[in-house]
């Protein structure tokens, strides 16, 4: 993915002006909390379970090397191969090489955010292979030549009509494309043959279990399973922080994941794969690979922000985030949108280029309230702001303004003086009517607002008397 500095502000303006995006986000904003609340009714001790989940992740991160080794030994004993890749480049090369060795022409793939990080499809296509995304949302964004705008619902931003148009252009068949049902059916039929025709299936993994050498894949559509069962080679591409110790630990996370992600008690399919097809089995891959990517994550190990690696990529934080709900996923400019993206993208894709990610927050803390592994998102956002200031990432003007603000805010005399000066200025700007329709430096904010001019003095001074 690109490393160019991102124009968050421009993206946000476009997103705010897009009627279809705003409509989709509006629908999501009302739909998700209801679904989540309903699913949480059957998990009354959410707080206890998520505390346990956070603890399991912290333990796993502390013992990551040992658990990863255990996972690897188990997979190898089961007849599979584990590749540990430090950089995105290593991981791309590894996957391309495996595909080359089995002379893959066609690859079916189920949704994986880690492969988005790697821009894996581009690498495979450059090597002359055809890659087909099979998750419906991911398939739609692939046809559109776009990126996912949400980690769980990649095509959240697309209308039915836009999907119909894409299908018409790419499938080149005449058929009815009026209802969502017809579109789902069409994708099912088109992709069905592709699973049978592909030499390699690529999936992600939500968890890796050290105890048994098992990768866990969670979906609703069943596409990952077809990618697993039908091609002769199965490659799991995932990241290093997915390792947990035991199957019992998995149970804890399964109680949290679907409830947090989509407001379901369980997703339709949770699949545990531990190697190639077993002895006597007539189905399943004959060759099985797991590619585990670091991609910058190990920089967080042992730091104050290590809790970021607890993330199970459920998307709950973005689903309740007022910033995400206004600007959508694409504005964040890299793989992970919303609060988790705001703090993770800077680590994985460059602290300076992702500067706006951790600036765009209201600090309402809604993300932390729903996070199933209790990541202190707002604290880490503040940490990144501090670090950015120290590393002189904001421009000189911005830094001077911040410095000036800090100097005034820390000094009661100066602060009172400055705040007191605001009153006559606002009053003068409001004129005779006593109403403000615009403000210097805040025209965007004032676009849909009017403000009454202040009357009387300041509250603090009034109280002193």
């Amino acid at each position: 993915m690109s490393k160019t500095p991102l124009d968050f502000e421009k993206g946000a303006h476009e997103a705010l002006g897009s009627a279809t995006l705003q409509q989709a986000l509006g629908k999501f904003q009302t739909g998700y909390p209801l679904l989540r609340a309903r699913a949480m009714q059957s998990l009354p001790d959410f707080e206890k379970v998520r505390t346990k989940a956070a603890r399991i992740k912290d333990f796993s991160l502390k013992n990551l090397e040992q658990l990863t080794n255990q996972y690897r030994e188990k997979v190898e004993a089961n007849g599979g191969t584990v590749h540990i890749c430090e950089t995105a480049e290593d991981a791309r090369k590894t996957v391309v090489e495996i595909c080359r060795q089995v002379e893959a022409k066609k690859i079916t793939k189920s949704k994986s955010m880690v492969t988005e990080e790697l821009a894996l499809n581009d690498a495979l296509e450059a090597a002359g292979m055809e890659v087909l995304e099979t998750d419906l949302g991911e398939y739609i964004v692939q046809l559109a030549g776009e990126r996912p705008s949400h980690i769980v619902g990649p095509a959240l931003h697309k209308t039915k009509e836009e999907v119909a148009k894409l299908f018409k252009a790419h499938h080149k068949t005449r058929r009815k494309r009026e209802t969502g049902e017809q579109l789902v059916r069409e994708a099912r039929e088109v992709l069905r043959e592709q699973y049978f025709a592909s030499e390699v299936g690529i999936t992600g993994a939500n968890f890796l279990i050290a105890e048994t050498g098992t990768a866990v894949i969670v979906t609703n559509e069943g596409n990952a399973d077809l990618c697993r069962i039908l091609p002769k080679t199965h490659i799991v591409v995932t990241s290093m922080e997915k390792v947990i110790p035991t199957l019992d630990d998995l149970s804890v996370f399964l109680r949290l994941l679907a409830r947090s992600a989509s407001g379901q008690e369980m997703t339709s399919y949770t699949t545990l794969v531990s190697g190639p097809r077993g002895p006597g089995e007539s189905e399943g891959p004959t060759s099985f690979h797991v590619v585990i990517v670091d991609g910058g994550r190990s920089k967080l190990l042992g730091t104050e922000q290590q809790a970021l690696l607890r993330c199970i990529k459920c998307g709950a934080c973005m689903n309740v985030c007022p910033v995400y709900m206004s600007v959508g996923g694409h504005t964040y400019g890299w793989v992970y949108p919303g609060p988790i993206g705001a703090v993770l993208n800077p680590v994985l894709n460059g602290f300076g280029t992702m500067y706006h990610n951790y600036q765009a927050s209201t600090f309402c803390g809604a993300c932390e309230e729903v996070c199933p592994v209790k990541i202190p998102l707002t604290k880490i956002m503040r940490d990144w702001r501090t670090r950015a200031f120290q590393e002189r990432i904001p421009g000189l003007g911005a830094r001077l303004a911040l410095w000036l603000w800090a100097a005034i805010a820390a000094n009661p005399f100066l602060y009172n003086l400055a705040a007191g000066a605001g009153i006559p200025i606002l009053r003068a700007l409001a004129g005779k009517k006593g109403v403000l329709k615009s403000l210097p430096f805040a025209n965007g904010w004032m676009k849909d607002r009017v403000l009454d001019a202040p009357e009387g003095g300041r509250f603090v001074r009034g109280r002193k008397r």
Partner: protein, 171 residues
């Protein structure tokens, strides 16, 4: 208090699966014939080669014991367990249990004995740990295949089955 079987059945329905209860395995063929008729399907199915499914008389149904192919519309699979907490069926891959039966046919019938029901997934892991070797593929199935990827509207039958019929066998 609901019994374990009641909780399981309730959760399967809650996840948009359909529940059928029969007294014994011998009653399954008649149920399948009736379902096929209701759904407007030919009376034929691909069936897991689990020993107890091979032994019954599938009279009136054309039955083949093999993995599912692209042309198969009705699949009958044999779960090793059912989890009451979530209405989840658990399938372990093996010689007689090809995973494709649960994913390729548009209509899926899964058979589980009430004695095989457990309360939580932790109990399933305990059973699985006894299996040597550990199954290459374990499928936990909770309701039919679904997607919300078109305008956040729920549609069933995305890539897997659009209908999941769970047959609970009493004895």
């Amino acid at each position: 208090m609901k019994t374990r079987a009641e909780t399981f059945a309730w959760n399967v329905k809650n996840q948009l699966g359909k529940v059928h209860q029969v007294a014994s395995l011998e009653k399954v063929p008649a149920l399948v014939r009736r379902l096929a008729e209701q759904l407007g399907l030919e009376p034929k199915a691909v069936v897991a080669a689990a020993s107890d499914l091979k032994d019954i008389n599938w009279k009136g149904l054309e039955v083949e014991h093999r993995p599912a192919g692209i042309e198969d519309v009705l699949g009958i699979s044999r779960a090793m367990a059912g989890i009451a907490e979530t209405g989840t069926l658990v399938f372990a891959s093996g010689k007689s249990n090809p995973p494709s039966l649960n994913f390729i046919p548009e209509y899926s019938i899964a058979i589980v004995r009430e004695s095989e029901l457990v309360d939580t997934s932790e109990e399933v892991w305990a059973i699985l740990r006894e299996k040597q070797p550990f199954p290459a593929t374990i499928n936990m199935v909770t309701g039919p295949s679904r997607t919300g990827d078109i305008e956040q509207t729920l549609f069933l039958g995305a890539h897997g089955p659009r209908e999941l019929h769970v047959v609970m066998v009493k004895s």
